[in-house]
Amino acid sequence: MAWINGTTIAMVLFAIGATALIVRRDLVIKLLALGLINSSGILFLISVRFHPQMTVPILPVPDGVLIADPLPQALVLSAIVINFAILALSLVFVMLLVERYHSTDCERIEHAVETEKATLGSQNLATISGSDETEGRP
């Protein structure tokens, strides 16, 4: 069972997140899948240099004890904060879309946007042709 470690679990989590991101149509579930992918990246970065004999990187450490690498942990800190920022901002966009189209289904929203575009385009065409007619008239 040595292959069950943080790296492989991170890959499984990434696969689940990517599948949910592509297959599911609900926007909120897509955001949850993005969070899962982010968590899998965090788990991967932390566990890729894992060694059972390492201690936490806080001084003082006893002699002869290995210190864990502090660099991936600092990178992970940035990843967590930026994931929070992305989640907050994209939740706002989902709220705006839901308010306008009354659905979190991304295909329905695309369909609604296309019909809206089509109606707007025909209205614009009508106004342009109408203005041409009015200008053409003496």
Binding site: M11, A15, P60, S78, I82
Partner: protein, 232 residues
């Protein structure tokens, strides 16, 4: 049909990424030499090497991290400010247990946030986690005494002006060493005794500023969501 194609595509993409990662992955056998990390701790004066990395050696990353956080808070407030806000957000009627326990728990949570912020260079913690802990304490306060009361008390403390001033102060702390002909993003304050709270004053100052910034930013995001959604 479309769904099947999507599922196959998703599995292919994730397998491809995993294969690329596995093929490319070269884990160095030797752990980092203790000399390097201990040298870093001596240069910054922080016992917590993670804090020494993200507020010392890689301060540039942290600076832009704070800017990304600020931009997200600005975006949330900008896009939600055009929406009609509910006049009075109706709080969910809470039981007396929560109301009474919030009064007891709030000082403890705030003290924990302060401890995480100010001892971030000596023990696990730091400005980001301390700020989020204190903001969760504020959320508990909102659940017990209502949004408007907390908002009035906090705006009395001038919290919104700090929201815009704190990123400027963090940038100023980073740029200020150039005025004393030192390299940018370097330590300006003298390093004290290792293992003490004031052992590395510049990391302590940056941790305090980042903690306050994260506290105010998280509170602003929470307040804007509650205000424009009408529920707690």
């Amino acid at each position: 049909m479309k769904r099947t194609i999507r599922t196959i595509l998703a599995l292919l993409v994730s397998m491809l990424v995993c294969c690329v990662v596995l093929l490319d992955l070269v884990v160095p056998e030797a752990p980092p030499r203790p000399d390097d990390t201990i040298l870093l701790a001596e240069r910054t004066g922080a016992s917590n090497l993670v804090a020494a990395v993200y507020l010392g050696a890689r301060l540039y990353d942290t600076l832009f991290e704070v800017l990304v956080f600020t931009v997200a808070v600005i975006g949330v407030r900008f896009y939600l400010s055009h929406r009609p806000s509910t006049a009075r957000p109706v709080p969910i009627p809470e039981s007396h247990v929560i109301q009474a326990s919030a009064q007891i728990l709030l000082p403890l949570i705030l003290v924990l946030g302060l401890y995480l912020t100010f001892f971030g260079h000596l023990s696990p913690g730091g400005g980001f986690s301390g700020g989020v802990v204190a903001a969760s304490g504020l959320l508990l306060c909102v659940m017990s005494i209502g949004l408007d009361t907390v908002y009035k008390r906090l705006s009395g403390a001038g919290i919104e002006r700090l929201e815009w001033g704190l990123p400027m102060m963090i940038v100023a702390v980073c740029v200020l060493p150039t005025a004393f002909s030192r390299p940018i993003l370097s330590n300006l304050l003298p390093i004290g005794e290792a293992g003490q709270v004031f052992g590395s004053p510049s990391i302590l100052l940056l941790n305090a500023l980042v903690g306050l910034k994260v506290l105010i930013g998280s509170w602003m995001v929470l307040y804007t969501f509650i205000r424009h959604r009408g529920e707690i």
